[in-house]
């Protein structure tokens, strides 16, 4: 099998898994209704995996396709706006931190999770001008950090398990 075919196949699989993870997360009950937006960010497992395995370009492709399909399937224009800003910030920051080579996947995914929350908060600030959003960010920074730790550990595991796939 040539490399290109392999890569397409692997990206197809990872994108599908990201979609399934997004679906699982969408049907889970909200963790805390007072602060909407607290999530584990399961699809980020895949984004981190692809980022480490194939680099920024492919992570951006998988992330982009996931966002479009997820918002068509389970969301609306509003959720798309929230997730696009979150996902772009998240991926940019993760790839910068990865480039410095000074953080493990855990540190990278913590930054990704918190940046994702930050992006959503930025959208929310434009939609509603209120200081309460500041409190949201405080809560989300804490939960984002915790989520990032778990995603980092999970991604590490996935990276080791997919070590045989060389592209």
């Amino acid at each position: 099998m040539n490399e290109r075919t392999k890569r397409i196949a692997f990206l197809g699989i990872t994108t599908s898994v990201a979609l399934i993870l997004a679906y699982i997360e969408a049907i889970l009950p909200p963790i805390w209704t007072a602060v909407p937006g607290i999530k584990v960010g399961l699809p980020n497992l895949i984004i981190v995996l692809v980022l480490y395995r194939f680099g920024f370009k492919y992570a951006a492709i998988v992330s982009g396709i996931r966002l479009i399909i997820v918002s068509m399937l389970f969301g609306n224009v509003m959720t798309l706006a929230y997730s696009v800003v979150g996902a772009v910030l998240s991926l940019l920051l993760m790839s910068i931190l990865k480039k410095t080579d000074r953080f493990s996947t855990i540190g990278v995914s913590i930054a990704g999770a918190v940046a994702h929350n930050l992006g959503q908060i930025i959208v929310a600030i434009f939609l509603f001008e209120t200081v309460q959003i500041g409190y949201y960010m405080v809560v989300l920074a804490v939960t984002g950090t915790i989520a990032g730790v778990f995603i980092g550990i999970g991604s590490n595991f996935l990276l080791k398990r997919t070590d045989s796939i060389k592209i």
């Binding site: 930054a111 200081v131 405080v138």
Partner: protein, 132 residues
Amino acid sequence: MKNNSEKNQRKRNDIILAAVILIIAVAGFLFLNATKKNGSYVVVKIDGVEKYSYSITENITKEIITGENGEYTNTLVIKDGKASVLTANCPDGICVGHREISFVGETIVCLPHKVVIEVKKEASNQNLDAVV
């Protein structure tokens, strides 16, 4: 050995990163708490436009009706200087689950109905449909 020390270095950086984020969060929380003030008005915005304004000291129950055919409702309750949403027919019910608000700048948002209930320091001078 070099590999191992690099690993430890990364682990240390991870912890520093997490600690910095948490310290900023705690500092932000303390700052917001130190600067919060009791509000005196409760303002209802529908689709970004201020529609109703009430003094937070009065006790009222008000049905906020929105939607093209008036099919959406949120019941605003102001009691003991605090505002909350008692019932609503929105799908997520986040506004109903929201705790009572009383400090300046606090809001309850009903995203599906485009209703924002906000506590303010002073009543605004805009022309309102109802000033009580």
